[in-house]
Symmetry: C2
């Protein structure tokens, strides 16, 4: 089976199957988050650590864009950076994520310093940046395809968090509204690219592996949050401590 | 205080203080391991995941050696690679670690494939390799200084594991005997290098930060083991399952 190429549609089905089994909407931490079962400190820990991921995404996209061969492809990918970094001060996805953190009562400077981030978060995020920098372009693009699955998790998240937490309101969650239109546009492009360029069996296996890798990047961030802030609740040295000295 | 340089001996004391507070002998997983309180599957998971670390150490050392400016320095550092890779087939620290894994009942090919490694292990190990490749040479060398603290943990480990587990014998633990002489020789050199070259306050702060980074690399590997195999025992997709299908 690994010796025969799949059709583009079969490849898409295999990619979507990975998401159905390994995307982080299935992780117990997200079930708690979306079900309103976390306390405010735990939600803060999630937002704080996720900031590290958000803040690195433009670096990931810039290193990918640097390897794209045409102006058309680079323009396509550049939109992602514009989405995150904005057109001006106070604009963009990172700014909106900081707004979410502030809405949860975290200090902006503390969040931006990343001093309280779990080491495991940082390692997973850097693994993603390095993967995109070092692996073949096709696999780097394929690793972005978790965005295929994000509209579902975003709508679950927004409705679940608004219903479950009195310390969360629509303004706090503004980040996610933008992503509902940005993510499908981005993933449509990446999926089309992958379906057109992953034609040999080895390329197809490589893009499937790249998507699994990326699912692991997201999954292990939630493992680390669960471990530190839910059960057994072992917070590593110097990491964020809810309501504690920092 | 950060504006004044420390004496070399004060710098050494500050480095040793980091070890006293953050070296992974303090981690609950190691307390369980050395106290004979893990079951065989949990000890297997430790050995399997630690193999990923062992197997990457020569890559870390080769990338560091590539940046050393003199033959004398490179020869000094080359000993580490010889220690790990051996002089011939069947020799070297990696081979002895595989012997430990086989002694615990793991299949050699399965271990070498790294298929069952926790993603968080891989991310932490790669963070270390990338740090050594990308950061200033002085900080790269300083990140090796966890070896200052390893003789203590090794003697605790060997005596504790021999006393605590009937499935462990001295032959299985042969890896550690070698390290008892190799680690002090290596760390003596690195400590001397750091004490002589980290003279400005900013350099001294950077080497302290490098050692904290490396402590986090080791610590987060044990966090991941604890999370997956002790409490709450949430094994990520495709990772090693004791006694289970793999």
């Amino acid at each position: 089976m690994m010796n025969e190429a799949m059709s583009p549609d079969a490849l898409e089905a295999a990619l979507r199957d990975i998401g159905a089994r390994r995307y982080h909407n299935l992780h117990p931490f997200h079930k708690l988050l979306h079900g309103g079962e976390l306390n405010k400190g735990q939600v803060q820990a999630w937002a704080l650590n996720r900031y590290c991921y958000q803040a690195h995404i433009p670096a990931k996209d810039a290193t990918l864009m640097a390897r794209l061969p045409t102006a058309a492809l680079r323009r396509e990918w550049r939109r992602r950076i514009v989405d995150h970094d904005g057109e001006a001060e106070g604009d963009g996805g990172i700014e909106r994520w900081l707004g979410l953190c502030e809405g949860l009562g975290l200090d902006r400077g503390y969040v931006e310093s990343m001093r309280g981030i779990l080491p495991a978060t940082r390692f997973a995020v850097e693994a993603y940046v390095h993967f995109v920098r070092d692996q073949p372009l096709l696999e780097a693009i394929a690793s972005s395809l978790t965005e295929l699955f994000s509209p579902t998790i975003i709508s679950e998240r927004v409705s679940g968090m608004l219903a479950g937490y009195d310390f969360v309101d629509e303004a706090t969650l503004a980040y996610f509204n933008k992503r509902l239109t940005q993510a499908p546009r981005d993933s449509d492009f990446a999926l089309d690219y992958v379906k057109r360029h992953a034609v040999r069996p080895d390329q197809q296996q490589a893009v499937l592996a790249a998507l699994i890798f990326k699912c692991n990047v997201l999954w292990s961030q939630l493992d680390a949050l669960y471990f530190a802030y839910v059960e057994p609740g072992m917070i590593p040295p110097d990491a964020f401590t809810p309501d504690g000295a920092r």
